[in-house]
Symmetry: D2
Subunit: 358 residues, 4 copies
């Protein structure tokens, strides 16, 4: 059983089928094909307004291109101190932004508050030696599995407007956040003031399909040039476009995300019921972050489970991971079977029972 | 009928099948899966020595990453003046090389000679104001459809050694060149002194599969970091790896390239037999560059054919395209049917005959 | 005698005196001092309108910063193929522009025509693979010692407007051009549509004083940040500002340039009167480019003269340098004595006479 | 009275005289002159070994070029969290390093310990997503006015060797540190394992003279190209070289630094004797960081003193600045008169006495 991430399985059957079906016949290269055009129109329909869409191959590329469109080389981009863009992309944003700087601020559960951002910006020296802040990037779902509420996004957006920042949303798990909030894509983005979005498909059923969705037209102007010179416009563009067609058809993406989130809830509730286990942060999407007794961690490993340990840096102030505990991350996806979740909980429960019995 | 390029069709059946077959089950992300490991070993087998291999999503990314590993930000990279890297990639190499400069030199048929390169390097001022040359990039097949002979590559490589340049080969049509020369991959590359290779799969049967193959270990050191920060390490790495497995199996790639080259020969011979048609450059791989009477060009367009006009900049010195002629590019691929070739030749022949009859 | 360049002598007495006088007392650092403020106001007075001024240390920095403010990383900057920015700055513009590309076009005497620029831009493919042209950079005085007429600048500017390009003027020898045309600084720049200017002081009497003068406010917005992060805002800013004060006082800069141009005219006329000597391009500022018999070249060298050979690439189409001739560059400055000019001409005359006598 | 920084006065008389004396005559441009050659030899003499020296115009440029030579674009550079390179240079290092990242670590008094650096490096994930650490930059004198002991530098250098990092020293106040330790330049640098040094002259008597001194030959290879393309090779190179000649002559630089440090000691002792005043960090060079009652801060301001407030982030763990206190920075230089110091202390003493009397 593998709970390491939601990118360890291939495509869903429906997406794979879409790839296969799009394969035949001659089509213009470099995204000038009909499938790509259809999919771009579909994005506008999904977001209930005209949006500019750029199909790319990785979430890292989507984030780095989006940030580069918002932040000049001498600018600052604010993000959470554990954000994927600052921690997990080998400096891709700095490369694409030509040396602009990411600044990581703290926040419980991977969330930034408007107050934190505002205080930081206000505290910056007003001098040419100080790179000026130009964008805020938030992760929805956060790196700790939490979901910003619409009001929280609106507050951050308001702060951005006050200080002249663009607002970027890293939506690697966009669909999981969406079904968690039960709102529309429009409500979770531009209606709250998001300027530009990394829209992830890969973790929720695609094989390799990411998109940059631009709500603020100023940020779309040069993105095609930027994507081209980043080697991100694949020649047989149908490959990505077809995946999105399969992804969107019959609300497949919603169904996938709902399943994943439901598995997470199940897992979360199951584990929380095990004595000695508690949650580092509430389970709001498809990731569960339990703090478990070390013997549970050992039992998981003994059973061959795949998953990651996690940092406690974003715990609430009065929370700590004890010396006999471990904070771990368990990720489920559209492909996770309920049976796997049950087995995992069983392993935890058994481990604790065994110890109690000793 | 579409002769615009060899990237207008999807994958070959065998490659598509490989994608489908690799889809099931959980695998480590980011290229740490078994399929990727197998394919990397296969590259070493194919090249008859240990090579470092980096799987990427586009030829532009392969070229730009390869050049960035060879050329420091203050260096020059020499190439043909019509090379894809200088003309068709929106400055991707300059972006990845952090402002290093590409210099285009002339040469008949898209080929550079050792003499041209050597004279250029010798003529550069020895001063700090002059960016020092650090690499030579050649296209095999060239942008005019010609193929460097082994002795020509060896001579260029010798020039590179003399002047301290790395030698890069843009092998977007590597397989087509290979079957054209009838040599081994090793013979066409490192045995002649090539340091680093962009190995293309997409144009010859894959859907999206490119690789950087490194023969000179010094150039491989940081390529994984460079690829990661360029957003070129896809999370479900099996997608590219599986394509290469399908591509290599049963010498599928050779068969595809042989078919394409044979179609080109057929097309080339057919057109050359039409009165008033001549070849701009010999047909050595899967591209044909005829100089046709304008009425043939018009007949092609009237028939709905897709293809590109081409520049005459790399014609031999005494060749010119007349005012009533057009130089065009016709590209065939693994997917081109003999019947299409015949029809195309027929259109040309008919157009000329009709005119003769008038 | 040294005719190698106009940067081989120190400062004029008046400029040196200004440095010395500004040395005492405490002043705010980083250009926030009174002298810098006064000098910036003086620039506005000289150009008869509000201008933004940035004081920097080298012409290379002035050019590279100016171009970086006009050209995005994915853009093209057009210039003459022998322009200082493309040939003599070790890729500084490419570094500051983050990989944007310089394209060199041909033109007699180092001058570009509106027709050449327009034809080039019109011929570019309209495709994302093609970096879009964003700026034109012209050198006034050109690298061949010629001076654009006001109508020529206006025509280039008109072409720029048509194609959405910014117009940059590299005025390393701004004062020499100005006194050559006998117009005002305003007439030679913004009144003809120049957007941004590299204003050189070093070659005409300063020790190290260059300025970027911005007429188009959009280009000034981030220049202070760009200059800071380029290490171009010196801490004791008075050093550059004081030089400009000395330079401008009592029209010292005009006097210096007039002297240099007069020396060039004298030299030019003297040499042209020597049998077998002719001018590659008319002498319009402070540089003379004679084509001399090789024996004259040898006589110069034997006499220990310092100067450079020059390329014939920008000769008029029907001009050639014979195999027994040499094209050389002789530069005079505010510090050149008439006696030096006379001696140089004498050496040429004697060499030719001696040969005639043999 | 101005205690804002040590860059608010012009040059010392001796340095100014050197500028004036070097002004006459023709000399090769771009640092190929005799004065520059002599000065470079002098650096080798001062450091008791062959060193490569690059003369530049600002400390920011020196730091950014030095770091760029040590850190590849995908690398990390570790520094103190208040280091000038991370806080005060508008991203110059990130620009010159092409997007490499600076990471700031904490440490009392602006100092890093070998333990802190080592723990940080050991804690980094071993994965391609993690930019690898490549250099450590320390400031000698630190941003809090402290001086690393030779054993501390040696320990940091040892840590660097263990982890494959280059060691850079930002010596903007190199001379002040030197006379503080009473050691030789060699002992404070390469003998402890420093690879590359930013050697400041401007703050200690020069007008604009900074040098990069390279001990590790590998880091010198491309620095001339890097400096040229950064617009840092001034054409009349004598300007900087002459200043260093004047600076070094008769141990002028030692005398200047000794005076400044003595003034700092005087100031420090004077203030510490005032009731209610204490030192944030020991005074080890030419900067004093007192924590003063707010009424003293107000008295200083009322008297028209120029100085900066400072952050308490690098206080020892049990130290805090009270709500009725202010932490300020007072900088003295070669030009500070003892009388100024006395007056400043008097103002503090009087303010406190007045209050006690009330």
């Amino acid at each position: 059983m593998n709970f390491a991430s939601d990118n360890i399985v291939g495509a869903s059957a429906q997406v794979l089928q879409a790839i296969v079906q799009s394969n035949g016949g001659a089509l213009p290269a470099y995204g000038n094909d009909e499938i790509t055009k259809r999919v771009k129109a579909q994005f506008s329909a999904i977001f209930e307004r005209d949006v500019s869409v750029f199909l790319v191959t990785t979430g890292t590329a989507a984030n780095a291109l989006a940030l580069a469109s918002a932040v000049p080389p001498w600018g600052l981009c604010i993000c959470h101190q554990e954000a994927h863009v600052i921690d997990d992309e080998c400096g891709a944003p700095e490369f694409f932004m030509h040396g602009a700087k990411l600044v990581g601020l703290p926040g419980v559960g991977g969330k930034l508050t408007a107050g934190t951002v505002s205080a930081y910006v206000r505290g910056l020296p007003k001098a040419v030696k100080q790179m000026p802040p130009k964008a805020l990037s938030i992760s929805q779902v956060t790196e700790c599995g939490m979901v910003y509420g619409l009001d929280e996004i609106a507050a951050l957006s308001q702060t951005c407007r006050e200080h002249g920042l663009f607002l970027h949303m890293d939506g690697a798990r966009f669909a999981n956040a969406l079904v968690s909030l039960g709102c529309t894509p429009a409500e979770m983005t531009w209606k709250q003031g998001v300027d530009i979005l990394s829209f992830g498909g890969t973790k929720n059923g695609c094989l390799m399909a990411e998109a940059i969705v631009v709500f603020n037209p100023a940020l779309a102007e040069a993105l095609d040039y930027r994507a081209k010179r980043a080697g991100q416009i694949i020649s047989k563009g149908r490959l990505i476009a077809a995946q999105f067609e399969g992804y969107f058809a019959d609300d497949h993406w919603y169904a996938n995300a709902r399943h994943a989130n439901r598995m997470a809830t199940l897992l979360s509730e199951g584990l929380a019921a095990v004595p000695g286990v508690r949650l580092a942060w509430p389970t709001e999407a498809n990731e569960v972050f339990p703090i478990v007794p070390k013997l549970v961690d050992q039992a998981f490993k003994a059973a061959g489970l795949q998953y990651l340990g996690w940092t406690e840096a974003s715990l609430a102030e009065d929370e700590r991971v004890g010396s006999d505990e471990a904070l771990i991350r368990l990720v489920v996806s559209f492909a996770t079977a309920e049976e796997e979740v049950r087995q995992l909980v069983d392993i935890a429960r058994s481990a604790v029972s065994r110890q109690a019995a000793e």
